[in-house]
Every structure is written in structure tokens, then in C-alpha cells.
Symmetry: C2
Subunit: 374 residues, 2 copies
């Protein structure tokens, strides 16, 4: 068995659950957030810094790594863990999302996607077999099936096509997947259409995977539709298997989804916002480039034990961003990654006490302070 998953605690008043996900490279306490290292690097952070932030598991991307440096290079380096010096669990996204959102001149058929590499223009093909080959060579703890992620908005017919194709590709991926030290997760599509989500969930579960992801959200549909899709889909997935919400999100969305029984998350928000001078704090976001921080001697977040907050002031961060020193993006990425890891640890703790709703609501009152975040 490449994976064991055990629910250790069910919250009292929400669907939130705490669990323990045992993977070849280690055990992940869930719910957990995975920082994104698409190209085998969580941007700006060396692996020991990622660990110091309290991160348990990271995400990498098969599409990006297939283009550069190529799965053969990673395999020859002893696999992704060794290549990126991250000895904890890793999940690789299949590249389905990227091949539809980034690649040019694509031709989609049931057998896969023919596209031109944005790197060198070379013709490439990504189908279920190749997708499993690539992820097998990368050697992450969890591989994802190849999926078709439709944009938003899309017609119900388009969403239906994506659902059928994702089911066909999922079954094929399961067939081609041959590493017994790697779990394989299926992906539920269906855009904003309940009946498609229902069909996609039911038939994905029929194929049978180690875990299940909700895909096709966070593509522009907005908070209300996203939350509906998550709340509708999560209960359709087996309670004893991990549930992974792909590409979500900002803290309010993450906590909302934890309350629906989601166990795993990934999003570029902590690192991308950090590079862009925006810090997450319990009182909401700070834009450190603002002149109001020029002489602010407080740390980004009082009481935070990350490298950034232990040693540096908001004034120093303001300075670094204003003079474009790369240490600014580095330090705020460290802080934001640590912020997310701590938020998840507190969520697990609250679930353990049967008080997740109180934790979530208290967090949101303080975090949003009456403001919405986009």
C-alpha cells in the first residue's frame, strides 16, 4: 500500500475532520496545506526553510517538470525528493490544468493533448500513459490523473465533455500507473453544474483511487459558486479517503472548505502574494510597500516565530521592497508559508477539540475585520 489514511477526529458541528495520511516519505497531519513548487522549488525557499515553516508536504507539477528539466533528468537524480532536497511527501499535479491554460496550439482528443511546448515550440503529447510515465519518473508520493479542466464560464455541454474525458483518462491512468510506492488520486470535474459534479464524483469513485480531488474550481467562478461546488461535491466522496481541493486558496476559502471535510489544499497564494509584498496576518493582509510601514518597527506579525518575524521589522521589509532587494520577496514568502502552516495546525487542533466552527468564525472575524478579500 503506497498510502494509509486514518481519520483521527471528526469535528462536532461541521464536516471538518482531522486525519493522518501516511505516505512513503512521511506522515501528514490533515487538514494540510501544500505550498506550490511547480518547478521543483517553492519559490525563494530552500528545502530546510520550507521545513522550518512547518510545512509537511509540497506540490510540484508534472507539466512544468516534463518541459524542463525533463522527467529523465529528475529520475536520474534519484527522483524529485532527492532532486529538490525535500525529504517529506510530495504530490505532483498531472499537468492537465497547465496543458489547457498555458500550452499553445493544442489539439485535444480522447487519447490526450497534442500541444506545442512554450519553451522551444516542439510538438509534445500528453495522454494518460505519458502522464503516468512522467509522474512515475518524478516519483512523488502522490500522482494525479490527467484531467481536463474547463475554464469559467463554460457551457454545460463543454463541462460534460470535460467530465467524460477526465473519467476516461482517469481510468486509463489507473491502468498505466505502476509504481506501488506512489498513490494515485482521481479528479472530479463538472464546473458549476451539480448534476455533472454528481456524475463525475460517482463514476470517479467507481473507478477507485487512493484519494479524490475536486478540480475545476478557483478558475474565476467566484466565491459563492466555488463554495457551493465544494460543499456539494465533498460529501459525494468516500469518507475514508483523503479529499484534496485543488488550487484553493485564500484563508477564508481554505477554512470554509475544511469545514466541508476537505483534507488537502494547494495554492500559490502564500508565495505569490509574498513576492508581491503582501503579508498574511491574523488581522488580514498587509501591503508592505505602503509608506505607512516605512518606520514601523513591529514585526510583520507579532508573535510569529518565522525567520522574517523573528529578525526583521516591517520597516526593513518596506525598505527591501522599495529598493527591490530580493530578500523582501524571500522573507515574505517565508512568513506567508509559515502563516498558512500555522493556520492549518490551529484548524487541526480546533477539530481535535470539536470546536472547528468557533475557530473558523473567530479567525474570519479577526482576519476580515469587516472587509472582503478577493
Amino acid at each position: 500500500m503506497p498510502m494509509e489514511f486514518q481519520i483521527t477526529c471528526q469535528d462536532a458541528t461541521t464536516r471538518a475532520r482531522a486525519g493522518r495520511l501516511k505516505l512513503p516519505a512521511g506522515t501528514v497531519e490533515t487538514p494540510a496545506f501544500m505550498p506550490v513548487g511547480s518547478r521543483a522549488s517553492v519559490r525563494g525557499l530552500a528545502a530546510p526553510q520550507v521545513r522550518e515553516c512547518g510545512v509537511q508536504m509540497v506540490l510540484a507539477n508534472a507539466y512544468h517538470l516534463a518541459l524542463r528539466p525533463g522527467p529523465e533528468v529528475v529520475a536520474a537524480a534519484g527522483g524529485l525528493h532527492s532532486f529538490m532536497a525535500w525529504d517529506g511527501p510530495i504530490l505532483t499535479d498531472s499537468g492537465g490544468y497547465q496543458v489547457f491554460s498555458l500550452a499553445q496550439h493544442r489539439e485535444v482528443s480522447d487519447s490526450g493533448v497534442l500541444f506545442r511546448s512554450p519553451v522551444d515550440g516542439a510538438e509534445s503529447f500528453l495522454g494518460p500513459r505519458r502522464c503516468m510515465e512522467i509522474q512515475g519518473m518524478l516519483g512523488a508520493d502522490v500522482a494525479m490523473v490527467l484531467d481536463q479542466c474547463p475554464p469559467y464560464p463554460c457551457s454545460q455541454a463543454e463541462a460534460e465533455t470535460a467530465v467524460q474525458r477526465t473519467l476516461r483518462w482517469g481510468a486509463a491512468c489507473k491502468q498505466f500507473h505502476d509504481r506501488d510506492d506512489q498513490a494515485l488520486f482521481g479528479i472530479v470535474q463538472g464546473s458549476v453544474f451539480d448534476e455533472l459534479r454528481e456524475e463525475s464524483a460517482r463514476r470517479t469513485v467507481e473507478i477507485g483511487f487512493d484519494g479524490y480531488a475536486i478540480g475545476g474550481v478557483s478558475v474565476g467562478e467566484g466565491e459563492e459558486l466555488r463554495r457551493h461546488a465544494v460543499g456539494f461535491t465533498a460529501p459525494l466522496l468516500p469518507a475514508d479517503r483523503p479529499r484534496y481541493l485543488m488550487g484553493v486558496g485564500f484563508p477564508p476559502d481554505v477554512l470554509s472548505a475544511v469545514g466541508e471535510g476537505i483534507d488537502l489544499f494547494d495554492c500559490v497564494a502564500p508565495t505569490r502574494m509574498g513576492r508581491n509584498a503582501t503579508a498574511f496576518t491574523p488581522e488580514g493582509r498587509l501591503r508592505l510597500r505602503n509608506s505607512g510601514f516605512k518606520a514601523d518597527r513591529r514585526p510583520v506579525q507579532q508573535g510569529c516565530d518565522c525567520l522574517c518575524c523573528r529578525l526583521y521589522s516591517r520597516a526593513y521589509l518596506n525598505h527591501l521592497f522599495r529598493v527591490r532587494e530580493m530578500l523582501g520577496p524571500i522573507l515574505l514568502s517565508v512568513h506567508n508559508v509559515a502563516f498558512y502552516a500555522r493556520m492549518m495546525a490551529r484548524a487541526r487542533e480546533a477539530i481535535g477539540r470539536g470546536r472547528f466552527a468557533q475557530f473558523r468564525d473567530g479567525f474570519l472575524v479577526r482576519y476580515l475585520g469587516g472587509k472582503e478579500e478577493g
Copy 2:
């Protein structure tokens, strides 16, 4: 006394000497190399990483910090050590070099330099009094006098003017300098003209400073003229005071100057070359972007104990630079800074054994491998 300097060992066959420089923030074993953190940040490295690299002392720049964030902000933060979280010794360059090389529309007179800030176009003035005020507020362990650094080539008359002005400014800086917990170093100019170097050295020593710098080198004059200037000037400086060679340089130049009795160095080379995918190794420089490294599983430097070499392969660095991940510049900066620190530690050790010439020559044979470096 803001500073004590003790020669602990004189080499047997060269002018190299090992010493101990006691400064308010700590003791520096010399000869030592200071990585450059012009804007209060050694590019890409948090302070604990700089320390881990074996660095004893860093350089910051009064010109850059006067423009942004302003010396008042740094002073209000408790000074430069606290602002940048570096608890070891710091030297601030006066900004003389920058005001001549970077600022626009400058008018130079004996009282100082009137220039337009490249940040906001505001008119600024840098003279001896303001220069000492700024460096006093920054609060480094060592301040530098305001100097005029002529470009190369320049006429003997221009070099003479720069020498006279630097002497006048130096005397004024000494007068205005009023922190008794901060050392003040004079600067010798004179371009490539021996008689000007001689006069500048003699009269700078007559003014009397805690230490003496050789300025106006590494401005395009080339290796031969640079080495001549250093070899000619160093013996003119008091043997019992630290000698600092400004802005130098690549490893061969640094070791050559150590052999002439230089104690302190600074240069952007380790960080700038690191950002540019170039690693220093005992066998010379590696350009990690080259495709030859794509599958090279060796560390950048075998046996190096820096973060980069402990955890990562040349193949990973090659990948990071090719996909423009910022971890590439970070890791190679770490390695290069550690490389320089180790080179200096080995130089000190060799001097201690009276065998600096052998060390230097052996280093160069291995490093250059018959090739010149630019």
C-alpha cells in the same frame, strides 16, 4: 577606543599578515572579505545565512541608504545592525564612489557634491559633514571618509584634483566624526600615478585615521596597473593599522593583495556572479547555465559544506537557472559567499604557518588551470 588591531602573525616570505580587528560588534580575524550589502541586505541572503557562510563582517553603503530608506529610518530602527539583523561588525562606505559613478547632474566643489537623487530627482548634497552625520546615524562599526574616486583613464591633473579633494574631505570628516563607538578610515587615491599615490598616502597618514583604505582601483585599469598600485601603496600605510582594499575583487586579485599586506576586502563578485549563474570553485568558475551541467549530479563544489553544496546538485542549479527560479541566484550566492569566506580562512591559516606564498601559488594553479579570468 572604537577599534583595536593586533597583528598576530607575519608571513615568512610575503608581506601578508594575519591579525585581529576588535570592533564594537565583534572581532574580525584578518585578512577578511566583506560581502556587499549596499542597501542593508547581502543580496538574497538572510542574516543567519550570511553568518552560516562563515562571514565575519559585511559592508553597507551610506549613499544608497541615505537615498532609501534614509538614515533617520535606520537610526530610529536602532541602527544598521538592528535594522538588517546582522549582529557582527559592519563597515559603511561613504558613498563617494557612488555619488561620482551613479548620481546625475552633479556639481563638485571643495565643500562637497551637489547631485540629483536618481530615485526622485530631488537635489541632494553630500559633503564631509553630512557624510559623517549619515554614517553616524547608520552606526556601523567602521565609517569611511568621503572621497573622490576618479574614473579610469583620467589625466594626472584630474587625479591630482581628486587626491587634494579627498585629503581636504578626509580632514573635515575626521573633524565632524563624533561617534566614539565607530572607527573612521581614511582613503588613499591617486589613480595609477605613483607620485600621487605616495603623496595621498603620506598626507592621509598625517591626518591620522583608525585604518587606511586604498581606493580608486578596480575601476577599469586592469590587473597589471591595479596590482602595481596596491603593491606600491600598501607599504606606505602604517603597519600597525588595518589596510582595506576597496572593491577588490576576484580571487586572484584578493590573494595577490593579501600578499602585499592588505587586511580587508569587499567586492560584489560573489553575489553578483552567483545571481548570474556563475559559481566559484577551487578549479575556477563554473557557469551553471551551461547545458553540460544538465545531468551533473555532483554538488557545485565537492566537499563544500554550504547549504547549496550540502543539499543540491549542479543539475538542480542548472534547472533553477534555466526556468528562472529565484532559488538559483540564492543558492549560488550562498555558495560563493561561503567560498570567499573559506578562501580567506585558508589564507589566514597559511599565514599562520608562514607559508602564504605556497598557498597562494597553489591556489592559483588549481583555480586558473592555465586560464585567465576577467
